[in-house]
Symmetry: C2
Subunit: 382 residues, 2 copies
């Protein structure tokens, strides 16, 4: 059996419903993957994450490499046992965090050298090291090491990077051992249509288990991101999953699922929760707002999450203003419930070939909170 | 029916087993009350607190008065509904926190004036205001306003304070309305046996629903605290509960239950948890310690809590070192499980008239962790 199988179940316009079969279980797509950066989805127990509807979570290789280190995780039998999450885990390569370090790293054909953010120690990441690290974590879906150029990168830089990325894809695949999980490639090419196309062509030669769109949601205008996705998805094989990295606002999830994306991850829902911004069926709500101080209504009347079933906006605001730990937890439960519930509703709509109606209704319901910006913020990545 | 009934079920030496009947349910004693200072037992949901064995929790009037304010809690139907805890709640009077403010407050016959720690606003607390505040919170067991002199207070100061406390007890009782919960008196008198006796005599005249020992565990030597308890408990009526305020280390719980104390509260188990100090069947363990970095054993092999059943010391250490929110939650679950389990075991031992054997065994098992101090720290109060 393949390390990863994608089965398409239905289509609605360009959106598609499917199932991803991993060695740790099935994932219904389009799927949102909560981020468990440091071997925990912040504030929650694994059974809570699963109870909210998550079938797969993401782990960050860079963070785990630094702390607690691969040796410790491996000795526990891998990340699943270490953190108590029995389901599928996708890991990134560590590259995104390394390239975010900016001035602290140098890229060469061999790989990337960098000083880590914890103790400044010099570290080296190569395509082979990234695969080995992910195998030692026990990752079910590994990501190839790639370079993620910043939004403003010029064409020549982006072109050279994607050519090297493609060579790194080959090295990553060659480095994978028998016990390794699936391996996904990452399409780069910035905002340049022909470079994206070139990246796809080069990656397809390596016959990877799925293809991700990288280098998006890094500061480029939203319409540019959408255009790149719209152009690239049709160039990818229909029998492999398409993964849009670092995207996860409700608005982007609806829009990008409509372009045929199957997998998403983003720290946005959980990070916003910890900052007091709560998703609702009509937009967003900032629980710090004084207008909620005596408000006995739930955050969202239509939401079935624990926080909304039991607590008032006033209580959640009180917890947040008092910096109580329960605030971050209840807010995280709420936002993940919103996002994972949205994915379930999207899948249902696609199954009934109602994607367009669903998306129209979703947009019609959006109402900006008075005095609040309603846009998703940047810096969505872990 | 009385607002609070105490029924003694068994004795073993001076220790006693009993039940406290409150308007919100029964509490088996000796009981430990987890502290929910700001309308939450930090990091936990109410059902988790109950699942750990807590039958009653404590709320802090001072904190709730300041934030979110009585009006908000009252509008929600009281503290129980506001925070989602349906069981009994004991509230303090706010006095302890006010007197902890030191230079910022002034005491007079009428009450105490102080500047709060949040915005420095001038506030006044009187016996009547403290009762009214607790009634508005919906407290099931209210505490009278008293003055808690510091450990080094001289005899004259302490003597004058307890006389005024007794007058305040009368005013508190007179202020209580029909809808008010039970009202407990607080024995003061510092470390002076005859002053403690005098305080008891004066309070008994007011026929309160129970009696607390206040002004202990505030810096005095442990043997002095034990002597005061040993002397005072027999002076109190057997048909009313005895509550030792601000005490909650495993060692103190075992020792003081042995002197006939029925109720305890303390932030120590939960605060220590958030600082990484975990109770075990043999003493304490500091999860930050580097020796646990690769340790796959649970915190305590004999512990049945979620953290010990599922996670290794290495995982808990990783979460703590990475400052993950789940660390505080799992540590809190562990320490509360330890303390509440200890209370259940104590009750079982008393039921079988085996308190002495239980206490001997408890002390025989204590082993200091290498390189760790094994004493309970000061500042146990909320």
């Amino acid at each position: 059996m393949a390390r990863l199988e994608y089965v398409q179940k239905a289509v609605s316009g360009r959106a598609r419903l499917g199932q991803l079969k991993t060695r740790k279980g099935v994932v219904d797509t389009p799927a949102f993957m909560p981020v468990g950066t440091q071997a925990t989805v912040k504030s929650l127990l694994p059974e809570e994450v699963a109870g909210l509807g998550a079938q797969i979570i993401l782990g960050n290789t860079y963070h785990l490499l630094l702390r607690p280190g691969l040796k410790v995780v491996e000795a526990h039998g891998g990340l699943h046992r270490f953190m108590g999450w029995p389901g599928p885990i996708l890991t990134d390569s560590g590259g995104f965090q390394v390239f975010s370090l900016g001035a602290l790293r140098t890229v060469a054909e061999e790989g990337v050298s960098f000083r880590n953010h914890l103790d400044g120690g010099l570290m080296h990441l190569t395509p082979e090291v990234a695969v080995e690290a992910q195998e030692r974590l026990g990752s079910d879906i590994m990501m190839m090491l790639d370079e993620c150029p910043p939004a403003g990168a010029g064409r020549e830089y982006v072109a050279a990077a994607l050519e090297r990325d493609a060579r790194w894809a080959g090295r990553a695949k060659a480095a994978r051992t028998e016990k390794g999980g699936a391996l996904m490639g990452i399409v780069q090419g910035g905002v340049y249509p022909e470079l994206r196309h070139r990246s796809v062509e080069l990656l397809l030669e390596h016959e990877l288990d799925g293809y991700a769109l990288g280098g998006l949601s890094v500061g480029e205008p939203k319409e540019v991101m959408m255009r790149v996705i719209e152009q690239t998805v049709p160039q990818l094989p229909r029998d492999k999953p398409v993964y849009l990295m670092g995207v996860g606002s409700p608005e982007d999830l609806v829009a990008c699922a409509g372009l045929g994306v199957d997998m998403f991850d983003c720290v946005l829902p959980t990070r916003m929760a910890r900052n007091g911004t709560l998703f609702t069926s009509t937009g967003r709500l900032n629980i710090r707002n004084a207008r909620y101080a005596e408000d006995q209504a739930p955050v969202d009347e239509t939401c079935g999450c624990l926080a909304c079933r039991r607590y008032s906006r006033a209580y959640l605001r009180h917890l947040f203003m008092a910096r109580e730990l329960l605030a971050y937890r209840l807010n995280t439960i709420h936002n993940l419930h919103q996002v994972l519930g949205l994915m379930a509703a999207l899948r249902e709509a696609i199954a009934q070939d109602q994607y367009d109606a669903f998306a129209r209704d979703f947009w019609a319901r959006r109402v900006p909170e008075p005095g609040e910006e309603n846009s998703s913020d940047g810096g969505n990545h872990a």
